[in-house]
């Protein structure tokens, strides 16, 4: 045993554990955050499964035999089925929304004869693709389960599912929705990860910068100069934004390369071109996404500046900023796998209200051509940022920037303001 190690370790633990900022930021926050995240994920999955079970499908029946009627009745026992009389499947696509349906099953002519003769017959399943998320695969899994069950009851491999997707109202033949979802997910996973890294680092940079100014008392010097105090705030925000922006570009490049190495492992079977499917944002979409990222970054930096104003040193500032991380981690990680539209209403409201979730919501929205959602998100975050910046400018305009201090009542004795 190292001589003196015991007392040193004990001192270190006391010193760290008695600092309420560390206790809250590094121990209590993660202890609460991950169970909350787990609950959100679990709850969302259950909700999505329930809604998938309630989902309706349209059946286009080209067969007039008894087996097709039996097959429809079989489908109807698990999901809501509407039989439609249309000349083409494309016609059925346009009626999907009126039935609130998310899929189409096309039973070919001669289905009953083939089933009776135990000759494999292709049945086409078309699933509406509404965005990236693990839950997109639920519909596809249900089809697999239904077909397997039907084959087991009738004859092995007699019914052969041919899966296709409907993207933005257009049928894309031969693309399994689950595989498409995996591919889109693998592409879109880069944004939440990059966002988490970018915002946490940026907030740390901004908080450290303000705290350093306070610790070294350079801020006091600046505040006595004949300059606009708002300029001090804007200088700080702009500097941090530029550095964070450079960092963002570096992360985007690095992470895209990293993710690129994964796409080859996706079991596509068929080559899926996301660009031709319209599942890559347009130039305008990318522009909206960039603006969304920028305003979110600005809001995070402004928040970090305010929080660090309450700290007297760098360590305290970093701890204070870490309290905000759950608001960043929970929506980012949850929305990485789940489409916000499948969430229950109250959770949807909570996620929309958190400014840091907006770029992820925007990225999915612009991919699906929903520019309004992305635009409204930008307006919301911009308004949030303006409020935060106004509070920050008020803080810088008064003596509070030097005297304000966060107190943890009950956790420690009230600290006195240094008065010399």
């Amino acid at each position: 045993m190292l001589k003196g190690f015991g007392p040193l370790l004990l001192k270190e633990l006391k010193e760290l554990m008695r600092d309420p900022k560390i206790l809250l930021g590094f121990i209590i926050v993660p202890l609460l955050m991950f169970p909350v995240l787990g609950y959100v994920m679990n709850f969302s999955m259950e909700t999505a499964k329930e809604s998938a079970a309630k989902a309706a499908v349209l059946v286009v029946n080209r067969d007039s035999g008894a087996n097709s009627t039996e097959f429809i009745a079989y489908l109807n026992s698990s999901i809501k089925v509407f039989t439609v009389n249309v000349s083409t499947v494309d016609d059925a696509v346009s009626t999907l929304s009126s039935y609130n349906a998310t899929g189409i099953v096309e039973i070919p002519a001669g289905f009953s004869n083939n089933v009776t003769a135990r000759i494999p017959v292709d049945v086409k399943f078309y699933t509406v693709f509404s965005g990236a998320g693990l839950l997109e695969g639920i519909g596809s899994s249900m089809v697999d389960a239904l077909v397997e069950q039907f084959n087991r009851n009738v004859a092995p491999n007699v019914l052969v599912p041919q899966k296709s997707v409907i993207v933005k109202g257009r049928i894309v033949e031969g693309v399994d929705p689950r595989i498409l979802s995996s591919l889109v997910l693998s592409q879109s996973i880069a944004l939440p990860i990059t966002l988490i890294i970018l915002l946490t680092y940026s907030m740390q940079i901004a908080a450290t910068s303000v705290a350093m100014e306070k610790e070294e008392k350079t801020l006091e010097t600046l505040l006595t100069l004949p300059i606009d105090r708002f300029a001090i705030l804007m200088g700080k925000l702009s500097g941090s934004t530029i550095i964070a922006g450079v960092g963002a570009v570096a992360y985007m490049f690095g992470f895209n390369y990293y993710m690129g190495s994964f796409t080859s492992t996706i079991p596509t079977g068929t080559s899926i071109d996301l660009i031709s499917l319209g599942l890559v944002p347009s130039l305008f979409g990318y522009l909206l996404l960039g603006v969304s990222l920028f305003v979110t970054l600005l809001s995070a930096l402004a928040l970090a500046v305010i929080l660090s104003a309450f700290a007297q040193d760098v360590r305290s500032a970093q701890s204070l900023v870490s309290y905000v991380y759950p608001l960043l981690f929970v929506p980012s990680l949850a929305l990485m796998y789940i489409d916000i539209n499948v969430l229950p209403f109250w959770l949807k409201v909570v996620f929309y209200a958190i400014p840091f979730s907006q770029p992820i919501i925007a990225s999915k929205a612009v991919t699906m051509g929903d520019y309004l959602t992305a635009g409204l998100g930008i307006v919301y975050v911009a308004a949030f940022t303006l409020v935060i910046m106004y509070v920050a400018s008020r803080l810088f305009a008064t003596e509070k920037i030097l005297t304000v201090k966060l107190r943890f009542r009950g956790l420690r004795r009230r600290e006195k303001v240094p008065t010399e």
Partner: protein, 243 residues
Amino acid sequence: MVVAVEAASVVKVFGNIRALDGLTFSVDSGAIFGLIGPNGAGKTTALRIVSTLLLPTSGTVKIFGMDVFREAAEVRKIISYLPEEAGPYRNLSGREYLEFMARFIAKGSNELHRMVEEAGEICGLRDRLKDKAKTYSKGMKRRLLVARALMTRPKLSVLDEPTSGLDVLHSYHVREIIKRYAKEHGVTVLLSSHNMLEVEHLCGRVALLNKGKIVVEGEPQELKEKFGSPNLEEVFAKVVGFA
């Protein structure tokens, strides 16, 4: 005689703490005035109010006739402030730091150049000005900051513990800088120190501060004679009742 600083019945309250309790003093233009007292006496709070950083809870402070609250922007044009134990920006060189600070005051590049050159002479750091400030010793940093506070030739320079934590030689150097600059350029200096012996050699007039109030004020020699004490330290001890 023009009055540089005029503080009248200044009170400053932080929560339950009354940091200043009716502080009244005045400083003549061109003088070096010392606020002295123990830790926690209210020196820094007083200097921060004079420097427009804090607002008095009550009372008034005027700098060359301008109110620090109502005319703060104008006051900031004629003062410079050196906080206690302040540092320069660690990753800027000494020269970059001086240029950065001079830019806010100088009217044109000639004046900026003059200020930086003058600051270089004042601090005596010569070639080391090219190095990052994080490589400087504590004494070098303090000399740089004192030079920064004086290079703009402010009408009033407010220096909080200008020699705090410095060794004898660095303290001597900083004191000489302040004395010389105040004399040559007519800069009024308001400084604080808890080192009363040092203040005797530097200030033409001192005010002894205790618990937010001035307990006695005058020229160092005058105070020593009045209380029959060999130095200001003993004067203070007698005034507050320790001796």
